[in-house]
């Protein structure tokens, strides 16, 4: 037992390893939010008139919305006027044409995070669209993707180059009226990724983006839109880390996925924003709206997330299963330690016939971490033969942490079949003893057990991410619990 206690202490005391600040000159607007700021952002990005109109509509609507208070997280009210809504790294040229032209300091930042662009390009065959604060600075493998007709670019580029697509799909899954933070994002989003997979194309590589919050007091508001046309297939990876900051940084992203007939989208996230210090000072507020629409028949959307960072996580990657026989999946591992709080889960809205959804959520709490699973499974009256399986397990690693489960199940069709199960427990002393008997040290035993606990979710990650996720878990729960 004492070893566990000791290692737990180590765990809670562990410093954030990705915490450093890159010193790059930033083109930042003064803090504050009004219509002029939105006009400034829109102008700066050379957006068409309709985009500005949309942003302003979203902003005016957002002003009317109340701040949501239902989540099981506690933080002082956010002063939206104290945030600067636009910052872009300054560059010598307007757009770097290849990876060599990237600001060396930027590249250094990524290198220190262990994600060298070159290596990734060569070894993993991953096309990386790196977002540094608000503006895309590098894209790769463009030519190869172009060949297949795939569009993979930054959101601002997409607005300029493919306005008809953006106009058709932007806000169609997450309208600006959806919720408070989605409304804010719609008004001030600066950049993000845009993916379009044409009919019948199978994307030849994993697409990935690394987000990184850098400038102080700069909220990052990404907007990601992925469209998979009939019969196409894409796997998208998103990973993020952020440097140490004392003030809370707001991160309110919106991700929209649209899968048409027979299309498949797999969206994987490893989230490791700065979680704040032991007292809960600083840390990122991660208020994200992610939603996928299975618009076509036989379509499939799969979310996988590994959440280890952020002071507060407020995130519900959801699936709207509108097409017949469509499938939604949600796999999640969330770790809270120190004073971290997480309120996360998913929504599965069954609308089409024979729709299926699976939810597997694993939560690990340590220190003073508070964690909630909040999920909704709704079967609408016309969704014949809907099937859902939900499982949420929590593991508790200290007497001061908390694990909570709030599943909501609304069934309006008698042919639906639903199962929900949840368990909460700590690592069994007997399990550890068993390992000890076989010569496995307590530390390793705990690691073994935690890895087994999360395996179901890690298995669903793409190879590149599975390794990173496992490593992240090892570092996060180093020396203690696995």
């Amino acid at each position: 037992m004492s070893a566990t206690t000791k290692t737990l202490e180590e765990l809670t005391n562990r410093k954030y390893e990705a915490g450093f600040i890159t010193d790059i000159e930033q083109d930042t607007v003064p803090p504050g939010l009004d219509e002029d700021i939105i006009r400034f952002i829109s102008e700066k990005k050379a957006e068409p008139e309709w985009m500005l109109e949309w942003r302003l509509k979203a902003y005016r609507n957002w002003l009317q919305m109340p701040v949501p208070e239902w989540a099981n997280v506690y933080y002082p009210p956010i002063d939206f006027q104290a945030i600067s809504y636009y910052s872009a790294p300054k560059r010598k040229e307007d757009m770097p044409q290849s990876l060599d032209e990237i600001d060396p300091k930027l590249k250094e930042t990524y290198d220190r995070l262990g994600i060298p662009l070159h290596e990734q390009e060569m070894l993993a065959g991953v096309a990386v669209d790196a977002v540094f604060d608000s503006v895309s600075v590098a894209t790769s493998y463009k030519a190869k993707l172009k060949e297949k007709g795939i569009i993979f670019c930054s959101m601002s580029e997409a607005i300029r180059e493919h306005p008809e697509l953006v106009r058709k799909y932007l806000g169609s899954v997450v309208p600006y009226t959806d919720n408070y933070y989605a409304g804010l994002n719609s008004a001030v989003f600066t950049d993000g990724s845009f993916v379009f997979i044409p009919k019948g194309v199978r994307c030849p590589m994993e697409l990935s983006t690394y987000f990184r919050i850098n400038a102080a007091n700069t909220g990052q508001f990404e907007r990601t839109l992925i469209i998979a046309e009939e019969g196409s297939h894409v796997s998208y990876l998103e990973g993020c880390t952020a440097p140490v900051r004392d003030e809370n940084q707001l991160h309110a992203a919106v991700v929209e996925l649209i899968a048409l007939d027979d299309a498949q989208i797999k969206y994987s996230t490893v989230q490791n924003w700065y979680p704040g210090d032991e007292e809960g000072r600083g840390g990122v507020y991660n208020f994200v709206t992610k939603r996928g629409l299975c618009a076509g028949n036989n379509s499939k959307i799969s979310w996988t997330q590994v959440e280890t960072g952020s002071a507060i996580t407020w995130k519900y990657p959801s699936c709207v299963l509108r097409g017949d026989n469509s499938v939604g999946e949600f796999y999640s591992v969330a770790v809270t330690r120190g004073r971290q709080q997480a309120d996360t889960g998913t929504k599965m809205i069954h609308m089409g016939k024979n729709t299926r959804s699976t939810i597997v959520s694993k939560g690990i709490s340590a220190g003073y971490g508070q964690q909630s699973y909040r999920g909704l499974v709704r079967v609408t009256p016309k969704a014949e033969n809907a099937r859902n399986y939900s499982q949420c397990d929590s593991m508790l690693m200290s007497s001061t942490c908390g694990a909570h489960t709030f599943p909501y199940i609304d069934i309006q069709n008698s042919t639906a079949q639903l199962e929900h199960e949840a368990t909460t427990s700590k690592i069994g002393e007997e399990q550890i003893l068993y390992c000890n008997q076989r010569g496995i040290a307590t530390e390793d035993a705990v690691s073994l057990i935690v890895n087994g606990f999360c395996k179901e979710v890690f298995r669903t990650l793409p190879m590149e991410f599975a390794v990173e996720a496992q490593k992240l878990m090892e570092i996060t729960l180093e020396g203690s619990v696995g």
Partner: protein
């Protein structure tokens, strides 16, 4: 929103008029005042309030229910219900008014005190005064507040230290056709002292005609090592609304079993609060709800583990027919430092009606690490293969459905420890089954 605000003020006026006629003892006046103040502060819950999000109170809010001014007349079918449980200690309230004729408190055993509140006058023992309104969440539960402001009588039970009451105590609440557009506020208080043992059954019965608001509050205090069995049978007529609360305060090593059968009323909701405040406390909540037509039935439970070594078990099952709608929302909360808790929660819903709607929110909130907690929830229809199997054996569809449904639901009647009550509830269940006549014969 405006309509709700208006409704609230009507009840405040009622209170002014109501309290003017009563010369209640000071402590009671104070309690009622507290009730109306709490209600004034809360008002009727809107749909923005999480705990009331699913409950559509519109039918109740549209109407103004004045407190029933006297007991009404009733037909033989209601009277019949009074005696169904055989030889018991009994208090009967008609439209909220005590009926000495129907009650039976003749042969009370040693250690049991059983009387309506109205008989005590000013001399209510301190231990009851303490329990009455002492543990319930008047501040946060608007209908408990409303009951506290308006209850005019109540069933008061006290079981002395170490006493074992052999015969069950039955409290019958009858709603007569005359209670139309009237509100009835039944109040029941049970104090079981250390190491005592008692069984309490509350029956809510009513005629089909009246659109009455039945708003009961039951308070159970189980002191150290006490053993309380509580059964609630809620079967008002099809026109009524039932918005009730049951509160159990469980001390060290005390055991409280709560069993609820809900099949009556157009709009029914029961909020069960169980506080396990002493180490080793043990609480069981079992519930069965049978709905049909356009009935709405709602169970909210809060099981609060505030001390270590507590055990709680919850199983709620529902059978939904027609276009009915049900809610099960249960929270198991383990407080900080409440270690070695073993808590389980189950909710199973069987949808027989194509347009029936089941909501299920089993929730866990855990602030301690050495606990065993789990919950499960299922919603589904009858197994097609099982139905087919019975069909091939010459059993018709209705009957097969009835048999399978009975098998599903009857499990919830097993925990009933009184044979008369078991038979009675089994009968209620059989009446509700698809193909009732045939199935009844087979079983």
């Amino acid at each position: 929103m405006e309509a709700i605000a208006e409704q609230k003020s009507v009840y405040l006026q009622d209170y002014e008029a109501h309290s003017a006629h009563q010369d209640a003892p000071e402590w009671l006046a104070r309690l009622r005042q507290h009730g109306i103040e709490c209600f004034e502060a809360q008002g009727f819950p809107g749909r923005k309030v999480e705990a009331w999000r699913k409950t559509d109170l519109t039918p109740v809010l549209r109407e103004h229910f004045v407190p029933a001014s006297g007991p009404g007349q009733m037909g033989p079918e209601l009277l019949e219900k009074v005696g169904v449980l055989g030889q018991v200690h009994r208090l009967v309230f008609v439209d909220g008014w005590f009926d000495p004729g129907l009650s039976d408190v003749d042969k009370l055993p040693n250690g049991l005190t059983l009387a309506p509140l109205s008989e005590y006058g000013e001399r209510l023992p301190a231990v009851i005064q303490e329990a009455l309104g002492g543990f319930v969440d008047t501040e946060t539960h608007p209908f408990t507040a409303l009951n506290t402001a308006f209850f005019r009588d109540g069933a008061i039970m006290h079981v002395a230290r170490g006493a074992t009451v052999e015969q069950p105590v039955v409290v019958v609440h009858l709603l007569t056709p005359e209670a139309d557009r009237r509100a009835v506020y039944p109040r029941t208080v049970l104090v079981a002292e250390e190491a005592s043992q008692v069984t309490l059954i509350e029956q809510f019965v009513g005629a089909d005609e009246p659109f009455a608001l039945n708003c009961p509050v039951t308070e159970i205090v189980a002191r150290q090592g006490a053993n309380v069995d509580y059964y609630k049978v809620q079967e008002e007529g099809a026109g009524s609304a039932h918005l009730g609360a049951v509160h159990a305060e469980t001390f060290r090593d005390a055991t409280v079993h709560i069993h609820s059968l809900a099949c009556g009323a157009k709009l029914a909701r029961t909020d069960i609060y169980a506080n396990l405040i002493g180490p080793g406390a043990d609480v069981t909540l079992n519930g069965l709800y049978l709905t049909t037509g356009r009935q709405y039935c709602d169970h909210h439970t809060w099981v609060n583990h505030k001390a270590e070594h507590g055990t709680s078990r919850q199983v709620f099952k529902g059978v939904l027919q027609g276009r009915s709608e049900t809610v099960f929302d249960g929270l198991v909360k383990v407080f900080e430092r409440a270690q070695k808790i073993d808590a389980q929660q189950q909710n199973r819903n069987l949808l027989l009606g194509k347009l029936a709607l089941a909501h299920s929110n089993p929730r866990l909130e855990i602030h301690a690490d050495d606990v065993k907690c789990s919950h499960g929830s299922t919603v589904g229809k009858l197994d097609d293969e099982a139905l087919f199997y019975l069909n091939t054996r010459g059993i018709g569809l209705d009957e097969a459905q009835g048999l399978l449904t009975f098998a599903f639901a009857a499990e919830m009647l097993k925990p009933i420890r009184l044979d008369r009550l078991y038979q009675y509830e089994r009968q209620l269940l059989l009446q509700r089954l698809p193909g009732a006549e045939l199935t009844g014969e087979v079983l």
